[in-house]
């Protein structure tokens, strides 16, 4: 297990460096940053001065090296708009997005696991079809539309939940449901598919032959095996929620990373955009690593790989 973990860690490191390079390069090739910084009607001399000032006239590889070295030490540069460092800006917004995504994932699993298990056990009955119907509905409804619907219903009409802001846990419920609801169908389908396959396997027959109650057969013997691909998908979904929270955060006016990214892009605040790109990419790398380790822990056959 330790060797497996070390190998995965090394791989994650390599991928991390690669994605940081991509995050850096993408912004360089998207246009001349000096012109973008100086503004539309700056004189060529101004542009040149900016180029000098930000070190943009040096070879790209040197700029990347410097940026990476600083990034490793936690220095992502300064925002061009806010009088703050990028690292600070991100750090103050990060808890909001993390809370939102974690709650979204929990809600997605709370919907997906029971529905997926029940659909699999009641395969090809009306219960199965109803569960599938719920899943299709979740995927068919756009995020913002569902969010607005909830704001209208629970926020305005019923007045049960606050409609914007991030002061209390109650503020997170509607946005988290919006996020989770959207992720639930794919998790549910995977759970159902895995359970259907596992329930017909020989070792489930063995479990029944031992006289185990259905609950133990399903939750201990079947789910443990069916959940393995779901765990991997969860980390991808969590990454999607982190990066895809732009819409949700905007609808509910949550001051998170997604909102910050949207602001930074519209203001051409490129150090912030770069920082967020790097952060989200690293999140993906870390999540993949966690998923790998979790999978190995769940499936003893992987551990020795």
């Amino acid at each position: 297990m330790l060797r497996f973990a070390l190998r995965r860690l090394l791989l994650a490191l390599v991928v991390g460096i690669a994605v940081s390079a991509i995050a850096f390069m993408l912004l360089r090739i998207s246009g001349d940053l000096a012109i973008a910084l100086a503004g539309e009607d700056a004189s060529p001399a101004d542009v040149e001065r900016i180029r000098e000032q930000y070190g943009l006239n040096r070879p790209v590889i040197v700029q990347y090296g410097e940026w990476l070295w600083n990034a490793v030490r936690g220095d992502l540069g300064r925002s061009l708009f806010y009088p703050e460092s990028v690292a600070n800006l991100i750090m103050t917004r990060l808890p909001v997005t993390l809370t939102l995504s974690a709650m979204g994932l929990v809600i997605a699993l709370l919907i997906a696991l029971p529905l997926g298990i029940i659909a699999a056990l009641k395969r090809n009955t009306w219960i199965d079809r109803a569960a599938l119907g719920i899943a299709v509905m979740g995927q068919a409804m756009p995020n913002f539309w569902f969010g607005l619907l909830m704001i209208f219903l629970f926020g305005l009409a019923l007045g049960w939940l606050p409609v914007s802001g991030s002061e209390t846990i109650w503020h997170f419920i509607m946005p988290a449901v919006t996020l989770g609801w959207f992720s639930a169908p794919v998790l549910m389908r995977l759970t159902r598919g895995g359970m259907v396959e596992v329930m017909t396997s020989d070792y489930i027959r063995t479990a029944h032959a031992k006289g185990l109650p259905v609950r133990v057969v399903v939750l201990k013997h079947a789910l443990r095996n069916a959940i393995i691909p779901v765990v991997a998908l969860c980390s991808v979904q969590f990454g999607n929620m982190l990066s895809g929270s732009v819409v949700t955060e905007t609808v509910f006016a949550l001051q998170g990373i997604g909102y910050l990214a949207w602001e930074a892009i519209s203001r051409r605040d490129f150090p912030v955009v770069q920082g967020i790109l790097l952060l989200v990419a690293l999140f993906y790398v870390v999540l993949t690593l966690i998923a790998d380790l979790l999978n190995a822990w769940l499936d003893p056959r992987i551990r020795r790989g």
Partner: protein, 352 residues
Amino acid sequence: MSAPVVNAAAADDVMAGHVAEPVLEVQHLAVQIPVADGVLHAVRDVSLSVPRGETLCVVGESGCGKSLTSLAVMGLLPGGARRTADRMTFLGEDLLSMSPGRLRELRGNRMAMIFQEPMTSLNPSWTIGDQLTEPFIRHGKGGKAQATERAVFLLERVGIAAAGRRLVQYPHELSGGLRQRVMIAMALMCGPELILADEPTTALDVTIQAEILHLLAELQREFGMGLLLVTHDLGIVARVAHRVAVMYAGEVVESGPTTAVFDDPRHPYTRGLIDCIPIPGRNKPGTPLGTIPGLVPNLVGGITGCAFRDRCAYARAGCDGAIPVQAGAHDHGWRCVLSESVADSTPTEVRA
């Protein structure tokens, strides 16, 4: 030889083995499975009985319904399969009308099953120790420590070295032979009165097949269990079985004490099977075994008359009608129009 009995009730008793207080008794079991092109009558008429502490071997070509018969007893038939029987009892208790809860109390506790597929019958995500101790703890036989102690004892008993270390291993770390030994140990955990072993060695390396079958027979004697052993190995059957039931196309076509069936087979199919046994010295190892020519009939939609008649050298008028169940001495019964020994009958024509 006594005169054949064509009395239906008496013949039923004969086919079932008619013994006092059997641990398992099955009368006229049928299993139907809906398939794409109709209803498959996979098991059509199976009656058998396993007396306490005895071994009944069930033999027959692949596909004749042996696995479904054992699964029907355990209540483990695949979804959609329909099970009917006149009688099916475990130590006198009716299995047909039994509540799921009561069935769970018996399964893995007083009756246990060993499957044909050792490679896939253990859960890949749990250790051998966890899976072995599970039925013991679940059926209230004792705590974790006692369960572990018994698991180690049984693993050693089924011939697994370093048993203590095996407990923390996962199934994928064990060979097929070891996994089947684990399955055997698991079946023994609660000290069952009946073991159903469905071709426990078919999937294993030939070199260890006989060893495992002998182990099973030995354990059966040692623990005084009833054993229903499904196997292809007629050599083993001759040595370990008290009684034999020969199945063909979903029916028991002949049953009786092992010596009677082997020395005086009455059904041409039984005779064919016995003729296919390799004899050391006569058949060189590695040469293919003899087989009965012809194909097993399709059982979708059912079949009337003798299912073997298309392959039978003794087929005659009457084989397409109702087939009588006949009885000889010592509860020897067979389902055939022939009443004399196959050896004394003349083939009607030779079919290939």
